[in-house]
């Protein structure tokens, strides 16, 4: 396509040598450029103002002391140095890594499992798809509140049912060891988007491929590993990337669940931010600390250094996943 347009351009340029026509104010190529620009201008401004500028600006701020009221002063690498001795940061990194290492794989596996179940059921596919998708629509704030309620220690519905079968339920959001697993349950409940994407990919696997493999004597596991999995590899990579990115910016559910569960324990007032990380810092994620540092304590330079580290980690993960999935599927996506 590009070659044909360039040869076309060459032809018009040769024609332009002849003084037959009035020389156009703009060549065809320039006009095309203006057309493209008229389509892209808002988005290009958006890319400059909301991607390039803030990235460069955050990089600059990360080398300064900055509190929004006075102009930033250069401090070199001091913010990055301070990060090494920050106990709260360590806790936040630990919690966020827990989410990446446990919550994200659980989400991908559960989404894949639910997708496979819906794809293999002969009847009622669209019914099950709708039901499994429904929780994904729930606003994160509402979902977090709902889960704090149903996992309420004592008289909460889940613990009541557990005690009916003789199990003494944990304190869920009020227990430091159970708070993150509770958030994971909340995440698994909202698996709908992942499930729908897996389902679409699974329905794309040609049925005769499966039949042929089955008649060839392949066991269920072999069919899954040799037929299904290769076609799913780009989708798995996609959900891993979006899962990790979401885990790195995990904020709403952690903030709201901690505050709601904390209200249960204290019966007191207080803003959402004062309960960040409850109980005992077990839900204290990296974005929560970034928010507190930057916008409560006005250490915007330090917060920028945290943002830059987050950026480097996020895009390293994306690059690794893309490279791995390419080598697995052998095609470029």
């Amino acid at each position: 396509m590009t070659t044909t347009t360039t040869s076309h351009h060459a032809a018009t340029r040769e024609l332009a040598v002849q003084p037959r026509r009035r020389p156009a104010a703009f060549s065809r190529r320039t006009r095309h450029g203006f057309t493209v620009l008229s389509f892209m201008a808002p988005a290009l401004i958006g890319i400059l103002a909301f991607l390039v500028y803030p990235l460069l600006s955050a990089l600059y701020f990360s080398f300064t002391r900055f509190n929004l009221l006075t102009p930033p002063t250069w401090v070199g690498l001091r913010n990055y140095g301070a990060m090494l001795h920050d106990a709260n940061l360590l806790k936040a990194v630990e919690n966020t890594l827990w989410l990446v290492a446990i919550m994200v794989p659980a989400q991908v596996l559960f989404g894949l499992g639910a997708g496979m179940l819906v794809a293999s059921v002969r009847r009622g596919t669209s019914f099950y798809r709708t039901v499994f998708y429904l929780p994904a629509l729930v606003p994160p704030v509402a979902g977090a509140l709902a889960f704090v309620y149903i996992l309420k220690p004592g008289a909460g519905p889940v613990n009541r049912m557990l005690s009916a079968v003789g199990i003494d339920g944990p304190l869920w959001f009020n227990d430091p060891t159970w708070a993150k697993p509770s958030l994971t349950l909340l995440a698994l409940w909202g698996i709908g988007n992942t499930m729908v994407i897996f389902l679409a990919a699974l329905l794309d696997v040609p049925a005769n491929l499966h039949e042929a493999a089955a008649l060839d004597g392949a066991t269920g596991w072999q069919r899954f590993r040799l037929v299904t999995l290769p076609t799913l590899s780009p989708v798995i990579a996609f959900s891993a990337i979006t899962g990790v990115i979401a885990a790195l910016q995990y904020f709403t559910q952690a903030a709201v669940a901690a505050s709601a569960a904390n209200g249960e324990a204290n019966t007191g007032g207080g803003s959402v931010a004062s309960a960040f990380g409850d109980p005992e810092g077990s839900t204290f994620t990296y974005p929560l600390w970034l928010y507190l540092k930057g916008f409560k304590y006005n250490k915007l330079g330090y917060a920028s250094a945290m943002a830059i580290v987050l950026f480097v980690v996020a895009f390293t993960v994306v690059a690794i996943v893309i490279r791995r999935s390419r080598s697995l599927s052998g095609e470029q996506s």
Binding site: A43, P140, R160, A260, Y291
Partner: protein, 300 residues
Amino acid sequence: MTQLAPPRAHSHRRVPPPRSGYAARRRRRALLLFIAQHSVAIALCIMFLSPFVFIVLTSFMSSSQSLSSHYWPHSWHPGNYLAVFRKTDMPRYLWNTVLYAGLGTIFTIASSVPAAYALAKLRWPGRKVAFLAVICMMLLPPQITAVPLYSMWAYYGLTGTLWPLILPSLFGDAFSIFLLRQFMLTIPDEYLDTARVDGCGEWRTLFKVVWPMARPGIAATAMFQFFYAWNDYYGPFLYASENQANWTVSLGIASFRSLHAVAWNLVTAATVFAIVPVVVVFFFAQKAFVQGVTLTGVKG
């Protein structure tokens, strides 16, 4: 595939299965599989739906009963929903949310459709770089750009309002551009070429040919954008939490719990209140929605 086919025919001919027994066994196995699959699926359905049931039931309880250990309301109190309105500034939160979500969606579609068209259907140097920038922007956690953007909006005196969340959608939303581009890639170029031969400029081609064909995609994108704003918590929390007059529904119900202590019947009523509009819209536009989710997973 072709390599797998011949042995299949072969094995079939060589071992003729004992007729009736084989068929019966196959039928029994299919029935067992059917029962197993559906019992797992129904169990999952119950697990997925039970949180909805519990919070809806609790939202109709009296406040003392919502603390007790009963699943079913003794007496029904639809007044809880009115109480949510009386105890909070809910009408204002609703208006703010509709403003944020509505204006944001209109601006997003207006600025993202042309960009998606240029990325999907026009050829120009730098197209790949621009698309890569869109992908980066889509993947970028909002915390990374929060400090510079916050100080920028503070400079213009717009912190404490929702405008820092609405105005950027005038300049294209990365996810919407991506999704619209994926939709437009499925439109065959022949339609566009016909329009161009007929003398349509690119803008006319976009509005006369591409827009009508991409309408389901545009609808899905608009819905995603609307839901994103409706559900957004981090954005309003960052920019508007200091000023309660500009709170959204999400901000309102998140602090509802800490402001009104243990009134779980009211908290669940507020929760149901935030969920219902989204679910209603979903049921009316389910097809476009699922198609949209599916396309996000198709890498281009």
